[in-house]
């Protein structure tokens, strides 16, 4: 990429914003040239410093759709972009910068786009709503992420709730089967409620309003004290079929594995329908997505074809383990505990690894001994190895699944990109 592509100079907005873009892209280019990364994080910081209003400027004239959740936001954003693409020209923050300046930098590459599909970090949703004035937000789930940070799930839900109240004009597509999400969108004026199959519930066992333990059925919840309950929804996902209002039925299929990806697809299709696009065409566009930023990618490592998966927190790991239970491929699991991962690995004991027993399992990563201990107590026979590439080579059979948490996954992607260095 050149230091400043032509669209840098064509970008709309104030002189300050355009100057910020030129400097940001210069910084990004230098960072790439120095080999320190993709340069997008640095570019974002430079842009923010030069032009504090960068995000509102970058979003001006775009119909923005924001996607946020603890899990699945990157994939769902790609799906929303594909769904919107059936009717519009779309720009997306597809390099994964989901905080303010990164989003602004991504949107400045808009070209002729009329719409934007934007992944937003959960904590940044209020700020990004304020700056982009979105036509719609897509909200999927809230659960705990890094334990060592102050991230009480309900605090995030409260902030979402305030942000939604401040933007009554915004369409809110929300998975109301998640009690925390249902609480956040309770007062939305323009709510399009979706009921996804239940996922991780361990972080929403008490009523978000009054702290009384919630009573759950298969698909609903209710507070016996204050009456807070599943609101019901015109859209439901059951067994791969998305049922909508007026007898509408959309068959979903994805090239991506896992029940959670069908749920992500359902959210993107409902969003498309809410914005007046044909739901089946949206579903078809989504079904063609084969990988999202390296996640779910199939790549060759030596003799073996490796499927790369990322799982960042207990809910993500539980969904991933459930998906893997369907086959017997060897798995290489890699756990780090850097700042981006959370430094506390206690959460390993909230994931049931027993479905991985009776296949080849290799524990890797800088915290492989924590993982190995966990697997041992779960009765999952495994090896413990310090190098992921050697672990893959040690696997039996032609196909291997690699699952890493955040920095373990990114490290693996880099090594594969460098040619297994």
């Amino acid at each position: 990429m050149p230091i400043a592509s032509l669209d840098t100079f064509r970008a709309r907005g104030s002189a300050r914003f355009r100057a910020g873009l030129v400097l940001a892209r210069g910084a990004g280019w230098l960072s790439r040239a120095a080999g320190t990364g993709t340069g997008t994080a640095l570019a974002g910081r430079v842009l923010q410093a030069v032009s504090p209003d960068c995000l509102s400027e970058a979003a001006t004239g775009l119909e923005c759709v924001l996607v946020s959740a603890t899990n699945g936001k990157t994939t769902t954003t790609a799906m929303v972009a594909a769904a919107l693409g059936t009717g519009y020209q779309v720009v997306s923050n597809s390099l994964g910068n989901n905080m303010t300046a990164g989003i602004a930098e991504a949107l400045s590459h808009r070209g002729g786009a009329t719409h934007a599909a934007i992944e937003v970090d959960e904590a940044h949703l209020p700020l990004v709503m304020e700056s982009t004035r979105p036509v719609a937000v897509v909200l999927m789930n809230l659960s705990r992420d890094q334990l060592d940070r102050v991230s009480e799930v309900r605090k995030v839900a409260d902030r979402w709730r305030e942000a939604i109240a401040a933007h009554p004009e915004c369409t809110v597509v929300a998975n109301v089967a998640d009690p925390m999400v249902a609480y956040a969108v309770e007062n939305a004026d323009r709510l399009v409620a979706v009921e996804l199959p239940p996922g991780w519930r361990l972080d929403a066992t008490v009523c978000p309003r009054c702290d009384t333990p919630l009573a759950f059925t298969e698909t609903t919840f209710a507070c016996p004290n204050c009456g807070f309950a599943s609101p019901g929804a015109p859209w439901h996902l059951r067994a791969g079929v998305l049922a909508g209002p007026g007898g509408l039925a959309v068959t979903l299929s994805t090239a991506l594995p896992g029940a959670f990806n069908l749920a992500n697809a359902a959210m993107a299709v409902v969003l498309a329908a809410a914005l007046g696009l044909d739901p089946q065409s949206a579903a078809d566009a989504i079904s063609a997505i084969a990988e999202v930023k390296g996640r779910f990618a199939r790549t060759r490592v030596g003799e073996r074809e490796v499927t790369l998966l990322m799982a960042k927190n207990p809910a993500g790991w539980q969904a991933t383990v459930a998906m893997l239970a369907g086959d017997r491929r060897p798995v290489v699991l890699s756990i780090n505990a850097e700042i981006a991962d959370g430094k506390d690995t206690s959460w390993l004991y909230d994931v049931d690894f027993t479905p991985l027993a009776s296949r080849q399992v290799i524990a890797c990563g800088r915290r492989r001994h924590d993982l190995s201990t966990r697997l041992g107590y779960d009765g999952v026979a495994h090896l413990c190895m310090d190098d992921e590439m050697e672990a893959i080579a040690a696997c039996h059979g032609a196909e291997v699944v690699f699952v890493g948490n955040y920095t373990a996954f990114q490290g693996m992607r880099k090594r594969i990109a460098r040619g297994h260095g």
């Binding site: 060592d148 972080d203 333990p213 001994h369 041992g376």
Partner: protein, 282 residues
């Protein structure tokens, strides 16, 4: 085989409320290690809507956030099973918020003092000091034979023991409170700590201590399994990480001390120096 006739019953109390920090793993570690020692064991997971059976051998209770912690104390007080079980001589492993609710009183973000269950002689208060987060290293009371205890602490509350002794002396991290370098609570029936990790996964000697205290139980030598070597590796890594935290904090403290000494000096120089009058006009 010794104790083979008995099935050890491990009660996991309110994992739906106090399951945020992986502490439910303590129940699993007890059950699995009991089996590795040639015993039979089962786990009873007791949800907050269920009655707490009072005839289990060991009770395990973990950490959680403020709202669920309050719901847990309400439910446990109404139920009464935990109090009966402890009076009956059962063993208890309590971590973080679980330890706090068993005391006289504890604090949440909304309330400086919530009445606890009154089963342990300790009280937990708010503090203006930063939340204690990071690797915790404790030299366990010699009576436990557990040596170094490693864990990960993450709490705002400051716990004071009203009587009895702590689990051990803090070598790195904060533990019960900033004012004294101790962690947790220890008695013939109770092992309580701020260590997540979970505590018994990182410190198998404590798991064996608790199992060995159950009447009628004799532990056979541990069955040899290859993965067990990982526990030792993990312990060495975590102990080293905790010592590194301690060194970092010592350096920061020394730097902070030097900075305040420098500020005092500068202040003294200003007030005695010839320019002091002019400077105060600015």
């Amino acid at each position: 085989m010794a104790g083979a006739g008995k099935t050890i019953r491990v009660a996991l109390v309110y994992p739906d409320l106090l399951g945020t920090y992986g502490d439910s793993g303590n129940a699993q570690v007890l059950a699995v290690r009991a089996r590795m020692h040639g015993l039979r064991a089962e786990i009873l997971a007791i949800g907050s809507g269920d009655a707490i059976a009072d005839d289990a051998d060991v009770y395990v209770i973990g950490g959680g956030e403020d709202g669920p912690q309050q719901a847990a104390v309400v439910a446990a007080r109404r139920d009464g099973g935990l109090a009966r079980a402890l009076q009956g001589g059962a063993q208890l492993v309590a971590i973080c918020a679980g330890m706090q609710i068993l005391g006289q009183a504890f604090a949440t973000a909304d309330s400086p003092s919530v009445e606890g269950l009154g089963l342990l002689p300790l009280i937990t208060r708010h503090s203006n000091r930063p939340r204690a987060v990071g690797e915790l290293l404790v030299e366990a009371d010699p009576s436990t034979g557990a040596g170094l205890v490693t864990g990960y602490e993450n709490h705002a509350g400051q716990t004071e023991l009203l009587e009895g002794r702590p689990l051990g002396t803090v070598l790195a991290g904060v533990g019960n409170r900033y004012e004294e370098r101790v962690d947790g609570f220890l008695s013939e029936q109770v092992v309580a700590s701020y260590c997540h990790g979970p505590l018994l996964a990182r410190n198998p000697a404590l798991a064996d201590l608790v199992l060995g205290r159950i009447p009628g139980v004799a532990l056979a030598p541990l069955a040899d399994e290859a993965w067990v070597a990982s526990i030792g590796e993990m312990r060495s890594e975590r102990i080293a990480a905790a010592r590194a935290r301690h060194r970092r904090e010592e350096v920061l403290e020394a730097a902070g001390g030097a900075a305040s000494a420098a500020r005092r000096w500068a202040g003294a120089l200003r007030s005695s120096g010839p320019g002091s009058g002019r400077r105060s006009l600015l």
